[in-house]
């Protein structure tokens, strides 16, 4: 009996003691399923995982899955940024009146209220930046060694880090271009439920420059130009640097409490010129046919590829979205304009199945920059076009105007204005008839969107040289662009107006128009007008504070370091 009692006592006590000592280690619990990862085990020592991490960063432009917003497609970065850059200018108007914000952008009447486009730009850029910061935190040499990465993997990850930093620099460029001062976070910032600090526009500008200069330095692990398509390489970084330098005056300017520019910033024309020349030494060249650059097979077409310094990859099956390439194609045309074969079947000219009828170019823009004209026979009795128009610049060859009308008295009517088929999903070497069957099943587009291409560098160069009074060196580059456009009469000199016109055509609908107009002091100006500018049909100037957009409402609430932009109250 006594024995049993002693045994029981020992059992109870020792049982308890045993547990005491081992239990607290259990609290370091991690997911045990092999497909469940935390930062502790997600990367490991396998290089492929680091590539996957970087894939997320490249998807910052197009991916829409991880933000709580209402309309995923409308909130895609490329579509949102494209919309504010083009629709706010003379180059394009969006007829979707149902989205209230599109009218505000069309007519420069936006206010403090959030709009889906600026919210998307704000959210997507900062989101992308945050992923880059995390990637950089997770890939320090110390972390890699802790995870047992080989020195070979460590070296390869260095290259990935530079690419990530390029993406971050690009995101910051979009952010300061849109908003001016923006929240400024790097891999060294606090993380969690914290309130990010704000960096001034010029501060962030300096940061972008430093970062880009660093990753394009000779000893940088960044890949050589043209070797990693569509990933970023030194060519991409130099290209962005050229754009950044070109706009230095704007990004370093100072504004007063009302949002008026009090002083332009120190320009960087010399730096711009130098970096362009550096790019010229690289292995890039113009694509022989202008429109091949914007076709569904552009990423696979070596001729198109050689002009692209950096592009965002899209594919109708993989990395498909409603807001990128598909938007540009679908929104550009309407069903009524579909070309038909002799049997009346659609030829699916644009290489996709369904049109959205959203964006088109005002007639005046086509006329003034593309040099188009409509002969008398081009007008039907009711004043609409029969479809005929004259042009000499090959870049004006993809307008569709049949049944459209010249005057855009109602922004909400798609057929008022010129349909512009620049973005076309049909492969460059396929006729509509050859591709119609495939196109009928395409509910996605495969155009890689070139964000930086050689022609822009030529024009950046020419503009910088103009400011430096050394136009002579740039003339050959401008003639190269002219010749490709079928304009064989070479120029020997050029002026500011030539640059304005040439950029308007060559870089039309490529998300650069608003930035260009701001740089030329034409965006809000009351002397440079277009229809619907400033909210009036005849056009009028608008307040200078609108050179940047206000922060989204929700961010003004959640980030106590933010306040309304000067002028917006």
């Amino acid at each position: 009996m006594k024995k049993i009692i002693i045994i029981l006592c020992v059992m109870f006590v020792s049982g308890a003691m045993n547990i005491f000592t081992s239990c607290t280690d259990d609290l370091d619990a991690f997911p045990y399923n092999e497909t469940d990862f935390t930062s502790e085990n997600a990367y490991g020592s396998d290089f492929e995982n680091y590539l996957s991490g970087l894939a997320k960063i490249y998807l910052s432009w197009s991916n829409i899955s991880d933000l709580k917003v209402d309309d995923g497609g409308a909130s895609e970065l490329l579509r949102a940024y494209w919309s504010i850059q083009e629709c706010s200018s003379d180059a394009c108007k969006n007829n979707w009146k149902g989205d209230a914000w599109t009218q505000d952008i069309n007519q420069n009447t936006w206010s403090t209220a959030s709009n889906a486009a600026t919210y998307a730009i704000y959210a997507r850029t900062l989101h992308g930046i945050t992923y880059v910061n995390e990637f950089l935190r997770q890939t320090t040499d110390d972390r890699l060694k802790q995870r047992g990465c080989s020195s070979e993997v460590v070296a390869k990850v260095h290259q990935l880090r530079s690419e990530a930093r390029f993406v971050r620099a690009y995101m910051y460029w979009i952010a300061i271009d849109t908003f001016g001062d923006v929240p400024f976070v790097t891999e060294d910032s606090d993380f969690g439920a914290v309130t990010p600090e704000v960096g001034t526009r010029s501060q962030v500008f300096d940061y972008i420059v430093t970062e880009l200069e660093d990753i394009t330095a000779n000893d940088s692990p960044m890949a050589d130009a043209g070797t990693l398509y569509p990933r970023a390489d030194k060519g991409a970084a130099l290209g962005l640097l050229s754009r950044i330098y070109l706009n230095a005056e704007v990004y370093r300017s100072t504004v007063d409490a009302n949002g008026n520019v009090t002083a332009k910033g120190e320009p960087m024309w010399q730096e711009c010129k130098a970096v362009c020349e550096k790019i010229f030494e690289l292995n890039y060249g113009l694509c022989s046919n202008y429109f091949d650059l914007f076709r569904g097979d552009n990423g696979e077409n070596p001729d198109a590829r050689k002009e692209m310094l950096f592009s965002v990859y899209y594919d109708k099956n993989n990395n498909f979205s409603w807001g990128g390439a598909y938007f540009l194609v679908a929104a550009s045309y309407q069903g009524a304009d579909e070309l038909k074969d002799e049997n009346g079947n659609s030829l699916y000219y644009m290489g996709i199945s369904t049109p959205w009828a959203g964006v088109r170019m005002p007639y005046e823009y086509a006329r003034d920059y593309f040099g188009v004209s409509v002969p008398e026979s081009g007008y039907a009795e009711d004043g609409t076009y029969t479809g005929e128009y004259d042009y000499s610049d090959l870049r004006a060859g993809e307008f569709y105007i049949k049944g459209h009308s010249e005057v855009m008295s109602d922004i909400g009517v798609f057929s008022q204005g010129w349909s512009y088929y620049k973005w076309n999903n049909r492969p460059h070497d396929k006729t509509p008839a050859e591709y119609a069957e495939v196109a009928a099943g395409n509910s996605g587009a495969s155009i890689d969107i070139p964000l930086i291409r050689l022609a822009e560098i030529y024009l950046n160069y020419a503009e910088a040289c103009l400011h430096l009074n050394s136009t002579g060196v740039a003339v050959p580059y401008l003639n190269e662009l002219r010749n490709r456009a079928g304009l064989m009469n070479d120029i020997s000199t050029y002026d500011r107006d030539y640059i304005i016109k040439e950029r308007a055509v060559e870089l039309s609908w490529e998300s650069l128009r608003r930035t260009d107009l701001i740089r030329w002091d034409l965006f809000h100006s009351s002397t440079f007008l277009w229809n619907w500018k400033g909210g009036s049909y005849n056009g009028q100037g608008f307040s200078e504070y609108k050179l940047v957009f206000d922060f989204p409402d929700t961010e003004l609430v959640s980030n106590s370091n933010l306040s309304h932009k000067p002028g917006y109250n």
């Binding site: 009996m1 009692i5 029981l8 006592c9 109870f12 049982g15 308890a16 547990i19 607290t24 259990d26 609290l27 997911p31 045990y32 399923n33 497909t35 469940d36 990862f37 935390t38 930062s39 502790e40 997600a42 995982n49 590539l51 996957s52 991490g53 894939a55 997320k56 998807l59 991916n63 709580k68 209402d70 209220a113 704000y122 959210a123 900062l126 989101h127 945050t130 992923y131 995390e134 976070v185 606090d190 969690g192 439920a193 914290v194 309130t195 990010p196 990933r231 990859y313 993989n318 990395n319 498909f320 929700t554 961010e555 003004l556 609430v557 959640s558 980030n559 106590s560 370091n561 933010l562």
Partner: protein, 1018 residues
Amino acid sequence: MKQKVINRVWLSITGLFLLFSLQSYSQDAQNRVAGTIVDAAKVPIIGATVIEKGTMNGTVTDFNGQFELELTQSPATLQIRMVGYSTLEVAAEPEMELTLKEDVQMLDELVVIGYGSVKKEDLTGSVSAIKAEEINRGAVNSSYELLRGKVSGVLVLPGGDIRIRGTSSLNASNDPLIVVDGVPLNYNGLSSVNPDDIETFTVLKDASSAAIYGSRAAGGVILITTKKPEANQKLKVSYNGTFSVSDYDGKRDVMGADEFRGFIRDLYAGSPSDLAVANSLMGDENIDWINEVTQLGLGQTHNLALSGTVFDGHLPYRVAGSVIHNRGTVKDDWSVRPNLSVNLSPNFLDNHLVVNFNARINTRFDDDGNASYGNATNFNPTTPIYFYNEDGSIDYDTNQGFWIRSTGRGDNLIPASNAQTNPLQYKRLKYDYREDYGYVASSAITYQVHGFEDLSFKLTTSIDGTNFARRERIRPDHWELINDGLAPGVGTYYKTHGYKENRMLESLVTYNHDFSGHKVNAIAGYTWQHFNYYDSNETRFNDDYNNEVSDVHYKKDELYGTIYKHGEEHFLVSFYTRLNYSFMSKYLLTVTLRNDGSSRFAPDNRWGLFPSLALAWNLKEESFLKSSELFNQLKLRAGVGVTGQESGIANYSYLANYILSSSTSNQYPMGGDELTFWLKPDAYDPNIKWEETTTYNVGLDFGILNGTVSGNIDAYKRKTNDLLNSVTIPLGANFSNSLLTNIGNIENKGIEVALDFHAIRKSDMSLNIGVTGTMEDTKFTKLTIGDDANNADYYIPVGGIGVGTGGYIQQQKVGYSPNIFYTYQQAYDANGEAIQNALVDRDGNGLIDMNDRYLSGKKPLPDFYYGLNVKFGYKNWDFGFNGHGSKGNWLFNNYRRGHSTTARTDLSYDRLPNYHTSVLETGWTDTNSDPQNYSDYWLEDASFFKIDDVNVGYTFKNVIEKQGSSLRLAATVNNVLTITDYSGVDPETGIAGNGDQGIDGRSDPRIRTFTLRAMLNF
């Protein structure tokens, strides 16, 4: 001679004396009684009242429990009364030893508290104990329904969620911890316990009593003891069965077919082209879709319990089984729930070693048909139900016969884009089946040390888990699949299955000692818990629906098949101790301390300390009240304690959770032949920590007039710090714009009262009235985003209503109740009718913009909620009802908002859903503007009083040849009556749940049930 005379006199005197004494003796036998009163343990009872029945004649027992009394009547009956004991009536006899039985309802009742039990009079905290048998139970099939309206401070929500003292947490859990026979339930809710197995409920409401459960007790604790076999008990059998019929207590008011046709023609009368389209979308049928999809609900339950002992009384057992079968009120909806529970409590070594083994299995098979009521309210009443062949028979070859707007027949069926799902077809072409297998098993070994009986050790191991599976199959001819672009003949198969399991190991040392008025009860314990969760789901596309899906039929298109697996675990390690001390049963003290470590948090935030202190003063034991006739109980309590909340917080939430995508749209060419899927971190807060709630409680327990009125009053204040909430966070700080993080502090204050009137206590008639009431006020006291209540920017938006851009209807804001409504102000015309899209320009700037929204002060939480229970017995009849209600709670009637206007884009979408007659009331025809959607017009006072059930029963005693056997027959109506001004189906929708609280989108009316019950015991 003289001697003779003396002798004679002596004799006579003696004789007389003798005679006298004999006479007086015989007189005593009739008029004077004496006795001793003891309790069950043969301990004398001091101060018991002994009264000659029907007179004012009486006395009290002395220190030895003895009494003497001269009677005035013969024969006489004595009544012996003592607080805490049942009143005893006996025929008077000259010498008596009487044993008073402890009254289980009274003070000496043992009340289960965390890790032990105390006598009710020794309680220091705010603890409510109720016996399941004694409450007016109506006809409940779920254990939570037993609690509704019975305990002050406890709100039982329609779905079974329980709130003890309101809401103090937003995103973490507000659910109380449920502990059944010492085992905290994790993966089996209260509803897993068969109500017939429950012996008692104990609700630990304040932190001083709940703090012993530390990090899981912030929502309060409900302790349940199940019925146990008694030692040496003879076989007892009890059967309890019900049969019920249920139906909706109302019907959604939608247009009939003729009304609809007329309405649509009037609506589009002005536009011939629209009218033509509308006409083409209307048929000649007259279908009442709600009738088509609903049916009478039928339910039956059978419970059978056996208990007794075997092995010479050494092995008491209880075995109970039950089956609940329910046919729902929506077609094809049914569930079956078989349950089994076993309890064994063998004892060894002269009762020093007791083993308690409990096991329960609760299973549930469920085919859920609820999806179609909402569909039926919207479906066009003029269209047919079926496709018909020319001969009038149903054309089963086309969409299984179910009509949808389409062209073509058979395999050539092409549904119209945006066609509405036929409400009947939705179920019939889809198979959705769930199985849950819940199990709880525990064994506790208690050893009371021989020779040192004050000390005992207890070792408990338990397991609590659920295996679950859900299968959904969609027939290949289901048009939704055709619309999704799948090849005809390909069905989908979706299966998810997994398990949740918690293992617990606990050791506890208890020390009890009584010495000269001092009573000490001390415990120290350690608990280790491991929570394990696993699930896997797979989606497959199958070309042969009729065959069981197997890997052979994996999928037609590789692209679409996915298998996903997920597992996680969590550990909780706790050390705790408690001291209960009482001096002369007058002054009581409880001190507890618990230290919890949870793997959910970063090492720096991992451990939490949860102390509590409580004092009580038993005034009744003081000399000035001891003999009070008025009070039979009076106790003052005060306590303070800290509890935590780790439930509701995801595992590993302090670490970034990384996801490797498998979605084709989440890949990018990174070199090589294949595209690379992204790997991305989810948002996380590295500094996340538990919510901590500090509760202050003052309470008074009283019993008046020998328990005729008894009750308690408690006042409390709860402060929750580091409140967790999912909030919009500034971009740039994380990987999402939404994150669960600690956002601030909340405070709630309340007063709760529970009263019990024994209005009639006669042997053949009784009336008990129970009333509970709770007044409560909840406010944010701090938000990390900003504390200044006057700063309009400092708020957290919550309460999405599903329309508009980034829309929300509520705020969390310092100084206000949670989810305070934030609306535009509706404008009305001269007749008081709301004008559509006319809102008040509150800031007078000529625009209706965000600045015109205002905080109405209206909130989803009630100011006051209450319960009323009445139980009346007369001879073998019993009658009762239960009701509960609330006051001051508001609801946003999102359902009414969604059906307030005729403006829709039906025609362009080639569909014409039915209208609710509410559009006739508003007369609105335009699309609601964003501000209209967020108008205070939709806010309604949702105060209500509900009669939850009314029941009547009759008990036949000794129905069979066995003493104590009984048969009770009863009838009950559930959901009898709701008194409210609220216009939606149920004012209690979202009253205090998490998430969408205060927003009512419910379409189907509540269900009323009529039940017949038979209970047989022998």
